[in-house]
Each structure stands twice: as structure tokens, then as C-alpha cells.
């Protein structure tokens, strides 16, 4: 039996879990662990320049790979800085283990230096959290943390370790398995319910596959594609599911919701059977609930029972992992009559022809949608796209030709500005051979711009494509529509010198205002081994359309001017 310090146990557990990269920031209460990190060679540590960025980077790593991401922070402000990262991962069900230092056991509760109640603060934004109380329980807690993070509906887990426990020496045996009697996730769907759902699919005339981020988390995209192909049922994706079907798939209608395309939102409004796979009926998806899928029965497959029936009444509830449910469901659909849905497919095709996802391009100024489409043409499937939050995020979701899951990484549930850049660092570290582009805005990028230094130091060459409209664009858009153009605190005319800023931190800057400059910059940036800021001047008052005004019915969309009149 190996005798070692608590700090060593932390490192050994990280190595045993197969983690190759840890993102973090040292400080007083976690110093013993950092001392052991210095001595070991089992994993690399990336020093971000802010704890929030460390958690987002671990999150980006987790989303790109499907593995558990690991971040490490100190007590007090180190931990509180990490909270936004935890909440971001929690809302999108991303498996993370965040290890935080805590003041020594004897100091807990005394308002010690850099003491804060980490488990208290993080309780609502973690799947679970631990305050380690003895050295003896540390190996088990670490094992359980990784297990809880990745199993069932995944999520972030915090392990808060008092400093003296990292110093103490004891026996280390890392458990092989986990047995938590109170935690047994359901993976297999109920057989009878699945049979009923299959019957409903066969009886439906206008069925619709509604695909959410759970399909990505469950790595079920091939099964979903097979289901769509076999049944010829049209598909809508949520923001979190972009890439599941692949942009070229003829059955994919697009993204639904507040900024969904016309055909997708109309499909949801007119369908007679919603087949929801790993989606949770978020308010940005449903719009006005009483009008949502009004004519439909609902099949809801979700690993989290609490999601089922939370917002809409469900006719065929199936609690289980979408992979296992589809494996059971697919053979039962061998005899499905695909012609049955042909009329429905034709209706939706006409909707899409009537109001395709579109925008008015310009020769004078770069349109943000054009910029997204252009990077799609230039790097397409080789890229991983991360994004911040706002207009640029929606344009990327609408216009980028995603062709696989985990290619699109964004903060969907919490909507965290400042997520994209550090998440891109995590994704790039996981897939160094891929081009990683953070599609961002002139508002969001400043919220974690200190990561320029991290990216430069570790030579993590991610491209920050700043769609610069000198506005907090999405808020500006709402002010235009709903606040009589009172642009309260959204005008970002005062700006840094982006090129100089990037260069000052060891990166590269590009100022782009024409399509030719855009192409030249992106082609150059791909070849560089340095992080860059690509400052793209775009049309100031461009709106994200279609748009369902908040609280409105999905079928009441504001549409772009390019479309051919009302349906």
C-alpha cells in the first residue's frame, strides 16, 4: 500500500482517470497540490490567467472530447471566480471535476483568510459537491466525483479539499468501482413504453424528430441519423444539438426556437407527434408553451426523469439513455411505412422554399452571416467552432455547416459571455490538429481576453473571429424592436486597438473590413502557430432573424426581408 500525502492522492487520481490536461490557477490553500503537480509527469497543467477561464477551458475540453474535464482552483476568490464556469457546465450537463482548495479544517467557520463556503455556494450549480473531511475518504470522494460527473445526466462536480488534508500522509488505494446506494441512473428505457412509442410513430402522419444536446452527450448521433433515415421523419435540432444530423442531411430542417428557421418552427407548430430525444423543452425553444406543438402527442426520451413533464405534458415518457433507447427502438421500426410521411415532408419542403434561412448580402460591408458561411466554406468540417453569447452565436448556429456533433461548442443554457475563448483553448488542446475558431463579438471577447496570454504562452493558436458591430448586438436588437431604439448602455463605439491588443499579449491581430481582407486574414491565421484576434468590421445594425419575440408563439416569426412574403 502506497503511503502518500493528500496532494499526491489528488494527482494520482487524476492520472488514474486518464486525464491528460488540467486547467487551473494556484493559490494558498491548493499549494500542496501544485507542489505535487510540479513533481509529476502524468498530466500537463495549463495556467489560465483567471479561474473562470480555467473552468471554461476544462469545459471546452470536455465538450470536444466527451471526457471529464478537470480544473483546479484555490479557496475563496479562486473558487468564487470558478462559479460561473460551474454554472455554465451545469446548465449544459457537461462532465467536469473541479478541485478547489479550502482553508484548513480547524479554520473552517472562522472567516479565515480566503475562506468561503464553497459547497454552500456551488450547491445549486453543481450536480454534486463534496467537502472532504478526512484523508481516509479522499480517494473514494475523488473516484465518486469522476463517476458522478460522467454518469447518468452528466454535470460538474466540485471537490473542496481543506489544506491540511492535502498535507497529511496516509494510505492510498484508488477504488476500482463505485457503489453509491442512493445514486443509480436509469439507462435502459422501459420496454413497454418504447413499444408504445414505436406504435405512435407508425400511426402518426406528421411526426417530427426534436433533437437536443442529450444526443451529443450520449454519443448517439449515428443512431439518430439511422432513425431519421429509416423512417424518413424530418428533424429539427436545438442550439445544443447542431451537428448531430449534419448540415447536408436532407431530412434536417434546421434549428428551432427563438432564432430557428421558418420550416423548423412551423414543423413544430403543425406536427402531430414530437419525438423528443435528449431535449428539455427550454423556453428559448418552445416560445409560448400553450401554443407549442399544440396538435401533437409527445414522446419524450430523457435520462433525467425530472425533465419529463416539467414543462409540457408528455404522452410517452421514456426515462433512459438515448443510445440504449434507440438501440431498442430501431429494430422495431423495420417495417415503418416511410411513404406515410411524404405529404408532411412536402409541406415542410415548401415552407423551407418559401422562407429559407437567408440574409441580404452586401458588397459594401461584411455581413456577419457571410463571415460565418465563408469560414464554413474555407475550413468547414476540419474546424471546431466555439462561440460566446449574443448575435454572433446565433448567426454561427444558423449559418455554419456543422457536419458532426462536438464540432459546435457554446454556452446554451446559461448563456455565458466570455465562454468562447477559454473553451476554444480547451478544445484546441484536445485536438491540436484541428482549426479552432471562436466566433465572438466585440462585447463578449473582452470578458476573458486575459486568455490571450495563456494562448500565447502555451502556443495554442485559436482564431478569435470578432464580429465587430460596435454594439452589444443582441441587446441592441431587442432595444430596436422592443424599447423604441433607446440604446441604453449597448453602444461600444469606444474600442481597444484589437490588433495592438493581441500583439501586446504575444498574439497576432488582423483588422478586416472587406471580403478580400477577410479571406486573406483567415488563410493566414490558419497557418500561424499563434493565437489571433481577427477584428471583422460588420454591418452595425444587422439583426438575427427569424426571431420569435420572447413569450410569443413559435409560428409568429419576424422574418428576414429576403423571403417571399407571408405563408
Amino acid at each position: 500500500m502506497a503511503q502518500m500525502s493528500g496532494a499526491q492522492m489528488v494527482c494520482e487520481a487524476i492520472i488514474a482517470e486518464g486525464v491528460k490536461t488540467v486547467f487551473g490557477y494556484p493559490g494558498g490553500a491548493i499549494m500542496h497540490v501544485y507542489d505535487e503537480i510540479y513533481k509529476q509527469e502524468g498530466f500537463e497543467h495549463i495556467l489560465n490567467r483567471h479561474e473562470q477561464a480555467s473552468v471554461h477551458a476544462a469545459d471546452g475540453y470536455a465538450r470536444a472530447t466527451g471526457e471529464v474535464g478537470v480544473a483546479m482552483v484555490t479557496s475563496g476568490p479562486g473558487f468564487t471566480n470558478a462559479v460561473t464556469g460551474l454554472a455554465t457546465a451545469y446548465m449544459d450537463s457537461i462532465p467536469l471535476v473541479v478541485i478547489s482548495g479550502q482553508v484548513p479544517l480547524a479554520l473552517i467557520g472562522t472567516d479565515g483568510f480566503q475562506e468561503i463556503d464553497a459547497v454552500g455556494i456551488s450547491r445549486p450549480c453543481t450536480k454534486h459537491n463534496f467537502l472532504v473531511r478526512t484523508l481516509e475518504e479522499l480517494p473514494r470522494v475523488l473516484k465518486e466525483a469522476f463517476y458522478i460527473a460522467r454518469s447518468g445526466r452528466p454535470g460538474p462536480v466540485l471537490v473542496d479539499i481543506p489544506k491540511d488534508i492535502t498535507v497529511d500522509i496516509g494510505e492510498f488505494v484508488y477504488p476500482d468501482s463505485v457503489d453509491i446506494p442512493t445514486y443509480k441512473p436509469t439507462y435502459k428505457g422501459n420496454k413497454r413504453q418504447i413499444e408504445k412509442a414505436v406504435e405512435a410513430i407508425k400511426k402518426a402522419k406528421k411526426p417530427l424528430l426534436y433533437i437536443g444536446g442529450g444526443v451529443v452527450l450520449s454519443n448517439a448521433y449515428e443512431l439518430v441519423r439511422e432513425l431519421a433515415k429509416k423512417t424518413q421523419i424530418p428533424v429539427v435540432e436545438t442550439l445544443m444539438a447542431r451537428g448531430v444530423m449534419g448540415a447536408k442531411n436532407p431530412l434536417l430542417l434546421g434549428m428551432l426556437g427563438m432564432h430557428g428557421n421558418y420550416a423548423s418552427n412551423m414543423a413544430m407548430s403543425e406536427t402531430d407527434l414530437v419525438i423528443s430525444l435528449g431535449a428539455r423543452f427550454d423556453d428559448r425553444v418552445t416560445g409560448k408553451l400553450s401554443e407549442f406543438a399544440k396538435y401533437a402527442d409527445i414522446i419524450h426520451v430523457d435520462i433525467d426523469a425530472a425533465n419529463i413533464g416539467k414543462l409540457v405534458d408528455v404522452d410517452y415518457p421514456i426515462v433512459g439513455d438515448v443510445t440504449e433507447v434507440l438501440e431498442a427502438m430501431l429494430p422495431q421500426l423495420d417495417d415503418v411505412d416511410t411513404d406515410r410521411y411524404e405529404a408532411w415532408r412536402n409541406i415542410l419542403k415548401r415552407y423551407d422554399e418559401l422562407h429559407p434561412q437567408s440574409y441580404v448580402d452586401s458588397d459594401e460591408v461584411i455581413k456577419p452571416q457571410w463571415a460565418i458561411e465563408r469560414i464554413g466554406e474555407l475550413i468547414g468540417e476540419d474546424a471546431i467552432i466555439t462561440s460566446d453569447v449574443g448575435q454572433h452565436q446565433m448567426w454561427a448556429a444558423q449559418h455554419y455547416p456543422f457536419d458532426r456533433p462536438r464540432q459546435w461548442i457554446n454556452s446554451g443554457g446559461l448563456g455565458t459571455m466570455g465562454f468562447g475563448f477559454p473553451a476554444a483553448l480547451g478544445a484546441k488542446r484536445a485536438f491540436p490538429e484541428k482549426t479552432v475558431v471562436n466566433v465572438t463579438g466585440d462585447g463578449s471577447i473582452l470578458m476573458n481576453m486575459q486568455e490571450l496570454v495563456t494562448a500565447a504562452e502555451y502556443k495554442i493558436p485559436v482564431i478569435n473571429m470578432i464580429l465587430n458591430n460596435h454594439f452589444l448586438g443582441m441587446v441592441r436588437q431587442w432595444q430596436t424592436f422592443f424599447y423604441e431604439k433607446r440604446y441604453s448602455e449597448t453602444d461600444l463605439t469606444f474600442q481597444p486597438n484589437w490588433k495592438a491588443l493581441a500583439e501586446a499579449c504575444g498574439g497576432i491581430g488582423y483588422d478586416v473590413s472587406t471580403k478580400a481582407e477577410f479571406d486573406a486574414a483567415i488563410k493566414d491565421a490558419i497557418k500561424q502557430d499563434k493565437v489571433c484576434f481577427m477584428n471583422v468590421a460588420v454591418n452595425r445594425f444587422e439583426d438575427v432573424l427569424p426571431m420569435v419575440p420572447s413569450g410569443g408563439a413559435l409560428f409568429n416569426m419576424m422574418l428576414p426581408q429576403t423571403t417571399k412574403g407571408d405563408a
Binding site: 459547497v119 450547491r123 445549486p124 473531511r133 442512493t182 426523469a305 425530472a306 416539467k310
Partner: protein, 159 residues
């Protein structure tokens, strides 16, 4: 069960008896805007579990959500939404010694209790009964100018 929006309900939650488990439960109720009318907690004999009894109000749809959300908490072993139950609540009440002690004694006996302590200036009685009857007891006790009444919260067991 009728789907009355504000019907009173009792839930038993069996949890691992570990630190901060109670705060996980209460913070879930607070974060999701669920109401707690009363809450009791005590260890289950000869086990590493505790029994939490929560009285709350809401529709059956809300109860379903509460039950599912509780079940998601890692240390929660079992959630029982009571339908056919025996429900009891204990109450301690303190009266001035100058009040009619015979009346107070009879009253507490009528509600499954009795006198538990008599001092120089005060008499303390205990009753244990169904929540509805406890309410009646408290109303009746007002006549004797109680100095203090402490309710214990509901405990329930499924029949």
C-alpha cells in the same frame, strides 16, 4: 389524487445521513420556489440513513416535479409522496401556573398528551396528534394565555 392547486401534501425523503444533506434539500426547495410548511428530520434507527418529513402545498403536477427533483439529489435514497398515511405532530405548550391547571390538563389529555413539567411559575404540557387536531388544540389553548407554543413539525408513515 385530485389536482387541487394548493392541496396540502406530505413527502418523506430517505437520505444518507451525511453532512449538509439537509441543506441540499432545503436549498432545492428555495431555488425552485417550492413551499415548506414543516420539516422534521431524524436518523433512522440502526442505519446510516435519515428520515425527513416535509409538509408542503401544491398541485399534483408540482408534487411530481418536487419528487423527481429530490430524487436527483445524490444522497437521496427514496422519496415517498404520502397518500394513505398516519400523520402526527407533537406540540409543547407553556402556561402560567395561575391558569386553571385542571382545565389545561384535561385539554392536553384530550389531544393525546399530558402535563410534562410543572415549575414555580409555569406548567408545560405536551400533545401529539394529527395536524388538524393540533390546530384545534392550539385554538383551544388560547383561553389559558399560553406563554409559548412550540410545534414539532409533522411526521408521517404510510399505512
Amino acid at each position: 389524487m385530485a389536482n387541487l392547486a394548493n392541496e396540502r401534501r406530505v413527502i418523506s425523503v430517505i437520505v444518507m445521513n451525511e453532512s449538509s444533506v439537509l441543506s441540499r434539500i432545503t436549498s432545492l426547495f428555495a431555488a425552485r420556489g417550492y413551499n415548506i410548511e414543516s420539516l422534521t428530520v431524524a436518523p433512522i434507527p440502526d442505519s446510516d440513513m435519515s428520515h425527513i418529513t416535509i409538509a408542503t402545498k401544491g398541485s399534483s403536477k408540482l408534487m411530481e416535479q418536487i419528487t423527481k427533483q429530490l430524487h436527483k439529489l445524490i444522497p437521496v435514497y427514496k422519496v415517498i409522496e404520502h397518500e394513505e398515511m398516519v400523520e402526527k405532530e407533537m406540540v409543547l405548550a407553556k402556561f402560567p401556573i395561575a391558569e386553571n391547571l385542571a382545565d389545561i390538563s384535561v385539554l392536553s389529555a384530550a389531544y393525546n398528551g399530558g402535563v410534562v413539567n410543572v415549575g414555580k411559575e409555569m406548567i408545560i404540557v405536551m400533545v401529539a396528534d394529527e395536524p388538524k387536531r393540533v390546530k384545534h388544540f392550539i385554538e383551544a389553548a388560547q383561553r389559558y394565555n399560553p406563554c409559548e407554543i412550540v410545534r414539532g413539525g409533522v411526521v408521517a408513515i404510510e399505512r
